[in-house]
Symmetry: C2
Subunit: 403 residues, 2 copies
Amino acid sequence: MTSKRASAGKASIRRGTNLPRMGDFNESVVLDAIRRDRAGLSRVELAEATGLSAQTVSNITRRLIDQGVAHETGKQSSGSGKPRTLLQVAPGARYAIGVHLDPAVITYVLLDLLGTVVAQRSEPTPRGGDTDTVMAGMAASVSGLVGDSGVDRDRVLGLGIAAPGPIDVTRGLVVDPPELPGWGSVPLRDRLSEETGYAVLLDKDVIAAAVAERWSGAATESRNFLFFYLGTGSGMGLVVDDTVLRGSSGNVGEVGGLGAACSTRALVEEAIELAVLGHEFTPTDPQDAQRSLQHLASLAAGGEPRAGSIIDRWGVRIGRGVSAAATLLDSDTIVFGGPIWTLLADRLLAVIEPMVAQSPFVKQSHPTTVTSTAIGENVAAVGAASLVLDRSLSAQPKSLLLG
Amino acid sequence: MTSKRASAGKASIRRGTNLPRMGDFNESVVLDAIRRDRAGLSRVELAEATGLSAQTVSNITRRLIDQGVAHETGKQSSGSGKPRTLLQVAPGARYAIGVHLDPAVITYVLLDLLGTVVAQRSEPTPRGGDTDTVMAGMAASVSGLVGDSGVDRDRVLGLGIAAPGPIDVTRGLVVDPPELPGWGSVPLRDRLSEETGYAVLLDKDVIAAAVAERWSGAATESRNFLFFYLGTGSGMGLVVDDTVLRGSSGNVGEVGGLGAACSTRALVEEAIELAVLGHEFTPTDPQDAQRSLQHLASLAAGGEPRAGSIIDRWGVRIGRGVSAAATLLDSDTIVFGGPIWTLLADRLLAVIEPMVAQSPFVKQSHPTTVTSTAIGENVAAVGAASLVLDRSLSAQPKSLLLG
């Protein structure tokens, strides 16, 4: 009989788990529960919510307090029994850095354990220039961000980068980005890790935005939502069955033709072609395109009907795209965000909301909420930092599997 | 301070895990590994593949042998060391029943532990008639299937139903099915459980087909594939990051307008409208529509150009739909199946394969395999039984969480 060793390692075989993994997982479950309830939770409530035994909860909370990530706060008296001590997360115990590499602007944020932005800065994305200089500049910005905040560097868990897709997860870089000339050959993740000394994670901007939304729970508690991101480019972050999807190459959420049709540049070019914007608004770079779009938005807000109808037609395209995706993925919530969304939210919502409500699947199956992110314009940068918090602190069943 | 108990139970708090869950999970991991390697695996190979300790593997394999689901078989000599005993699954240790409720035909299968069909039967779907009679008829078919096979009823783990979507998972029934008049008000899952005495699971046919594909691994070992099912209706089963997606109401995979455009009925009606088929082919029910489509397929196969181009145009619509979905979900494999696919596979593949290869995302990111299911025409019925095997025996990290 010959050996079949090769097949034993094939991807489809699951990994088992063991006691240390179980301990770490249960610790994240408890931390996650405390984090989500800002008023604090008692040990009894934690046991109820997580299904863990009172003894396990007691051991874990002692460890979290020893590590400084949780603390006791006040008492809760509920009816007859003796008052219960409440536990809360210590927001300043750990931090994470987020960097959003947008073709127009690079945004840097520092988040605490509760996902609050404690420091932020943004800079125009350098055009051209050698990549060594650009990387050194980014590292200086990161260092300045942390330094100015007064946060102890040792409390920073790591750095996340959100970049426009498609990305190459293996090599840690952006693939041939049309609006980011030169960046396609920079090993972004590794170089930034070398330059800053932090562990670095890289994800697509739209996936990072979905991670931000799920981590904060600010706009939705849904376990099945799609996040449509409108920035220099467009795409969707997908959460199905309470899990952020990544796909075979980390590029879930590309929207093909719809993405091209929904880019800032395409919209501005359409407005110029229809003579709603003059030729002086022809964009030379992504920052320029954003300024032109802002002008188009202000024309529409001022009542210029042709400017309004360009934006409305854009809304129809987006409405069709999100209705089809929400149908395919059985989503109950659609969240919109990104800098361009912020600019046009009211007008686009007025078009998109009724389209979703009238889509055949929604009418037959279940209502579907359409909403704007509560995180704000910098949701991708917050998402980049959330990648780090999520990886380090979230209770993910997959983390139970032996590496 | 007031109590915030209500929020403690909200859906977003993860459940913890414990030792018994961990034991069950590791047992499924080992069983799954043995099942996937039909030549057998040694205990050393199992430890390598699963990451579990030698002691844990040894304990688990002893339990599996005691339960009769695995047995020792032959020895493997590999170089110097002493020969290792190989373990294999005992295929006849457990069985599962699958029922595919298609508008044209109901298919019943009995699968063993390795997913081999050991018994099968099919009957035309009753049109009209009171639901009590229909349910009793289905129960009799199930009983006949198991009885004739000679399989001990106690070894049957349960019964799975695959039905056209949308389904109502909570109530366990099909929602307003246009091609299954009367079935929308039958509590299918519970009634069939009462009538047969088996535990019953219900899923959409396209999701069941994806589960079958993932369970058997016959056509693909991919962790990111979509299964396009062409039967009386069409839809997609989605596997992303090695997980079968279900969505907020268990209805992942609806394809909206594409589904309507790809139904057997729509295709036949188009052929009649274009006078490729005579009016005598106007379908009165789904069985009729299938016969008409078979005639259209044989015309095309015989070289009738207009029949061929109707099917080719259908292929283009499907090609567009799967390219968009594979782009959105970053799939590396597209599997096709279902009774209509079997009829038209060669012709449709010739249209769809180059469309996928030429889609912008595929060209930019990674090759995407287009293939037919190796399971065959009854993939939805096999999928229905696979739901039971998958639930009972697969190593799913989510099963670790406390209920």
